[in-house]
């Protein structure tokens, strides 16, 4: 079984751990627990890549990295060897969206062949109109290694599995 390392990056409190929890354990809690250092989770996903007829099993080793802020960057060593990254932002905090491009840049600097998905988390807290505006805003920052931008919600579960699976597909297909 193939294993792949992916990372979740983003400012503190945007919901990285919650997204992983939703994806791996199908659970949600609105308690805030700050991640210290790294937490590693694992989930096996079954995907059917476009260029292959049969299903593939992929073990995703998901590195939930400590939330960063403008004073404290992510340790580059944690990003090493990651095939893909999910950059998470909080739609209720515009500054976290502003720093999405910074996270993308950081990741690609270390892993130029990696793939990214941008998750605009907590999308259940804002209306559609604002959401589409924000999507446009992020779109403008995105690069060609960014394979998708999705509004997500760990609370409702919307698009959560999708972002992981999309990323997994991209990683497998492009090889």
């Amino acid at each position: 079984m193939i294993s792949k390392k992916i990372c979740l990056v983003g400012d503190f409190g945007v919901g990285k751990t919650s997204l992983i929890r939703r994806f791996v354990d199908a659970q949600f809690s609105d308690q805030y627990l700050s991640t210290v250092g790294v937490k590693i989770s694992r989930k096996v996903v079954e995907i059917t890549p476009n260029n292959q007829p049969e299903k593939l099993k992929l073990q995703m080793l998901i590195w939930d990295l400590e939330g960063s802020n403008k004073f404290k960057a992510i340790a580059p060593a944690y990003l090493q060897g990651a095939r893909g990254t999910i950059v998470v932002a909080d739609v209720t905090r515009i500054d976290t969206i502003d720093r999405v491009s910074g996270h993308i840049y950081n990741f690609l600097e270390i892993n130029p062949q990696g793939f990214l998905v941008v998750a605009l988390n907590k999308s259940d807290l804002v209306d559609e109109e604002k959401l589409s505006k924000l999507l446009e805003m992020v779109q403008s920052q995105a690069q060609d290694r960014v394979i998708g931008i999705y509004p997500t919600s760990a609370k409702t579960g919307i698009h959560v599995d999708l972002i992981f699976e999309t990323l997994a597909c991209a990683i497998i297909e492009k090889e």
Partner: protein
């Protein structure tokens, strides 16, 4: 002539004023006296004063000199000898130089003036005087001495005068013209008022001076200033002729030197000395001037009166009034300036100078007012500035001197004065001669520091603090070891103190050292143990020795291995970058680890340590993670690392093996490892095999050990325990048999059968112990034992002892004997037996009874002593109660005898009493019997009525007298009752 006294005063006066400021107070008085005498002279000789006056004036000047010298003689010579060396220089040639008497009218005596001047100029002792060119006009000589520019004709037009004064003004230097305007304005006003005042003066032209001088005299008394004023004011009564020379003198001597040498004075270090030296001559001026100019003035006055009868008073008025006015001004100015002098000499000199100009200018104004009389005007003009100047200078100098002296004698002031100079002085001195300065200061420097420390510890500490660390560093560098020696005794307590203050800091500080120290120590300790073990010939040691020789490792390592068993749980080959597991091998027995998670976390930890903890540029790797008894060993290569999770302490050999394994993997499969992308299939299965080998070797090493060593050790231990035990068992059995045999033989002997005897057999020795009542039985027991075991050596330890009789039996015997003894008549005893001692208490009738009691008790076995407290019967002889014939009643005395009997019974409550009644031999025996019984009954009843219980009393009657009463004795002795004590048990029986 005018100059003569001045010069003589020059020699003496400075010393005076320098010696003691107080003396300046006494001076004016003498001066005034002097003046008066002069005035008297003048009055007398004024009218006839002509060319002859020369001689006369010499005389008066001589007297003036005498007077002025007078007060100084006492104290000057002693006080200022140094000045005496210079002093004689001036008076040495004053007479030829200064004696030429200027005529009151300079026009008349130009030649003499000229001579005076030239001689004055030639005088070598006045170097500050500029040498003038040959005078054009004889009359101009006075001023010429000061400056060439000044040319004052004696009798010229006012305009010429004006120009000449302008020149004078310029000569006196330009600096402080602005301040002149004020006094100039004030002067004329004052002049007017003074003029009015003086106009009232008596018109008698003979004595115009007197009122003023008296007036001045009054003023002179209070103070030195006033005195100076008086002496200065007195000249105004004189006339102009002297003024040329006086001015010249003043300008030259006092004000000029002062002005021309500000640099000298400004040199602060010399200020006091120079001031004293240079300014001292000035105060003499008024003294010396006064008499001279007075004379001259008087002479001139009379002359002028004669010459100009039309307007005689006016010049007088002006001359008298103006100077006084100007004096007042200058005095105040001078005081001010002298006050300033202390702080800033050059400034004060300027200030002194300015009043001089004021005066000269004011006199200029005056001179313009008095144009009509050029001569008078000239006189007036010349005199006024001169006076003003001289006076002012004098005053200022006096002030200065006073203040200087005051400063010298007042420590505070002196300190203030010197304060600004001290630093300069010191720095100059240091710059000049560093070494000398250091040497001179060196002896006191420690005391200075100590004193300072005592004064203010904190400031000293803060002053020294900045350099302390550097000083220590320097000290350590200069003389290594010394500092350590000095600090060493305090080191222990310093560390203790620090630990008290902050334990954690100390721990942190020592932590890096302690680990390595301990490991070093441990290494040494283990080496030591190893050495000891190597020299010990225990079976374990030997076997280990053999093994270590065979395996080629040290015994210590073997010991370590033996104590620390280890087992490998899992081996992972992890991709360094992504933390993905490339290959793994896990021990079958233990719980399986989640390889991906472990690998991920280990990678994260490695990254964290490398990023955050390891120093930048320091290539160090996390090589081990310990947790309790388990650890994870990490061996890192380029793109991968090998982790081995194990329990216990892995031997070095195993660590080497891990390294070898990683080296093999990296060498053979480096490409696959580098390009690993999450697919374990890309990694060849050989890698996994290599990892599995690690686990197998570890379990093999474990398996090898146990059997041989354990077996050997076990059997040896078992042997060590069993063999002695067997021997012991055998010997014990043998002994037991022998002992039993002997015991049987002993018990077979009837004599010994009742006694308990112990028999112990130990090999060929038999030990007998126990107790037998006598030596015979003891030896018999020994013989029997020997007979039963003829080969053995008998150790007879039986004790022959006296067997004490049974105390219970003895007590019973004592009771029995007591009962027997109580059968004896009159014997009533009670006994107690305790530990071989018999106590006997009671009564007996006779002494032999007591002896019998004692011997009887002593015969009882077990009784060691008898304590007898037997009372011989008190009732036996004494107590018989007698009755009347044929009566059984107590009568009279007989009834009293009951009392002692009652007391007896009360005393011996354990005893009873037999009451025996008797009768005499007369009468019927049956009746006697009845009577005797009745008598006994009567007594009994009497005793019962006394409170004695009836049980204790027995009674009987015998119809005849007691045995000791025979027929020969009187009948009444038979009619009685006798008493026999009874023991308690006897009673019961």
């Amino acid at each position: 002539m005018t100059l003569l006294p001045k010069n003589s005063a020059d020699a003496s006066q400075p010393r005076n004023s320098a010696t003691k400021s107080g003396e300046s107070n006494s001076h004016p008085a003498t001066q005034l006296e002097n003046l008066f005498s002069l005035l008297v002279d003048l009055q007398r000789e004024g009218s006839t004063l002509t060319a002859k006056g020369e001689q006369h004036q010499k005389r008066s000047s001589a007297s003036a000199l005498a007077l002025s010298l007078d007060p100084q003689d006492d104290n000057l010579l002693a006080a200022f000898e140094s000045q005496d060396t210079t002093a004689p220089v001036l008076p040495s040639n004053p007479s030829p130089a200064l004696s030429p008497p200027p005529d009151p009218n300079p026009l008349k005596e130009p030649v003499s003036s000229y001579e005076a001047l030239t001689s004055l100029l030639d005088q070598p002792s006045l170097p500050s005087w500029s040498r003038p060119p040959q005078p054009i006009s004889p009359s101009s000589q006075g001023i010429k001495t000061n400056a060439e520019e000044v040319f004052i004709p004696a009798e010229e037009s006012p305009t010429q005068l004006a120009t000449s004064f302008e020149a004078l003004a310029s000569l006196l230097e330009q600096p402080s013209l602005p301040p002149l305007s004020q006094p100039m304005a004030a002067a004329p006003q004052a002049a007017v008022t003074d003029l009015e005042a003086v106009s009232n003066l008596p018109e008698s032209k003979v004595q115009p001076v007197q009122p003023i001088t008296t007036d001045l005299e009054q003023r002179a008394n209070p103070s030195a200033t006033a005195a100076a004023m008086a002496s200065a004011i007195s000249p105004p009564t004189e006339q102009v002729e002297t003024s040329f020379e006086a001015l010249a003198r003043l300008l030259g001597k006092s004000s000029f030197p002062a002005i021309s040498q500000p640099e000298v004075i400004s040199d602060k270090s010399e200020v006091i000395e120079s001031a004293v030296e240079k300014l001292a001559p000035s105060p003499s001026l008024p003294n010396s001037n006064a008499p001279e100019s007075l004379e001259i003035t008087t002479a001139k006055l009379s002359q002028s009166l004669e010459l100009t009868p039309t307007n005689p008073p006016e010049p007088l008025e002006i001359t008298t009034s103006n100077p006084s006015q100007s004096l007042e001004i200058t005095t105040s100015n001078a005081i001010q300036s002298s006050e300033l002098t202390t702080s800033n000499p050059p400034e004060s000199l300027e200030l002194i100078a300015s009043p001089i100009f004021q005066e000269s200018n004011s006199s200029l104004v005056n001179s313009e007012l008095e144009e009509q009389d050029p001569l008078d005007l000239l006189r007036h003009l010349l005199m006024t500035p001169e006076l003003a100047e001289s006076h002012q200078v004098i005053l200022s100098i006096e002030q200065k001197l006073q203040s200087l002296e005051y400063q010298i004698y007042q420590p505070e002031k002196l300190i203030k004065l010197l304060l600004p100079l001290i630093t300069d002085l010191l720095s100059m001195k240091v710059a000049e001669s560093r070494q000398a300065m250091a040497e001179s200061l060196a002896p006191a420097i420690d005391e200075m520091i100590q004193a300072k420390i005592q004064q203010d510890r904190n400031s000293m500490s803060s002053a020294l603090a900045p350099v302390l660390s550097e000083a220590v560093a320097q000290g350590v560098a200069d003389s290594p070891g010394e500092f350590a020696k000095a600090l060493a005794p305090e080191m222990g307590s310093a560390i203790k103190e620090q630990i008290n203050l902050e334990r954690d800091a100390m721990v942190d500080a020592l932590y890096p050292v302690i680990g390595s120290t301990i490991s070093k120590y441990m290494g040494e300790a283990i080496r030591e143990i190893n050495e000891k073990v190597e020299t010990t010939f225990s079976p374990e040691g030997l076997s280990r020795k053999i093994r270590s020789k065979m395996q080629g490792v040290s015994e210590a390592e073997l010991i370590f291995k033996e104590s620390m068993l280890f087992s490998v749980q899992a081996v992972f080959l992890i991709h360094k970058g992504s933390g993905l597991v490339m290959a793994e091998a896990q021990s079958s027995g233990s719980q399986r680890l989640e390889s991906e998670m472990v690998a991920g976390m280990l990678t994260a930890i490695r990254s964290f340590v490398n990023d955050c903890i390891a120093q930048s540029g320091d290539i160090s790797e996390l090589d081990q993670i310990d947790y309790g008894n388990s650890k994870i060993v990490l061996e890192v290569a380029g793109y991968c690392y090998l982790t081995v999770a194990l329990q216990g302490e892995p031997p070095q050999k195993f660590i080497q093996q891990i390294r070898q394994t990683l080296i093999k993997i990296v060498q053979r499969y480096d490409k696959q490892v580098e390009l690993y992308d999450g697919d374990p299939d890309t990694i060849p299965p050989e890698v996994t095999k290599l990892l599995e080998e690690l686990i197998i070797t570890s379990s093999k090493e474990k398996a090898k050990k146990a059997p041989a060593a354990l077996l050997v050790i076990g059997s040896v231990l078992l042997g060590l325990i069993l063999i002695p035990w067997g021997i012991h068992q055998y010997r014990q059995h043998h002994n037991q048999v022998a002992a039993a045999k002997t015991s049987l033989a002993l018990t077979s002997e009837p004599e010994l059968a009742v006694y308990r005897l112990n028999v112990e057999a130990d090999g060929d020795k038999i030990k007998l112990s126990g107790k037998l009542p006598n030596e015979y039985l003891r030896s018999k027991a020994g013989e029997i034992a020997q007979a039963s075991a003829p080969k053995s050596q008998v150790n007879n330890q039986i004790l022959a002892v006296d067997v004490p009789p049974d105390p219970i039996l003895t007590a019973a015997e004592v009771q029995r004997v007591t009962a027997v003894l109580n059968q004896l008549p009159g014997v009533a005893i009670a006994t107690s037996y305790q530990e071989g001692k018999v106590r006997v208490q009671g009564v007996a009738l006779l002494v032999p009874d007591v002896q019998k009691i004692t011997s009887t008790f002593e015969k009882i076995p077990g009784v060691r002593s008898v304590a007898i407290a037997v009372e011989l019967n008190p009732l036996a002889a004494s107590t018989r109660i007698y009755f009347d014939p044929n009566s059984a009643e107590l009568v009279g005395e007989a009834s009293r005898k009951i009392q002692p009997i009652k007391e007896f019974l009360t005393r011996y409550p354990e005893l009873g009493l037999r009451i025996v009644g008797h009768s005499d031999r007369s009468g019927n025996p049956a009746e006697n019997q009845q009577l005797a019984l009745k008598r006994a009954q009567t007594i009994r009843n009497a005793l019962i009525s006394q409170g004695i219980t009836p049980e204790r009393l027995e009674f009987s009657g015998i119809g005849e007298p007691p045995q000791d009463v025979d027929a020969s004795q009187p009948q009444y002795l038979g009619r009685c009752v006798e008493f026999i004590p009874l023991a308690a048990n006897t009673r019961k029986d």
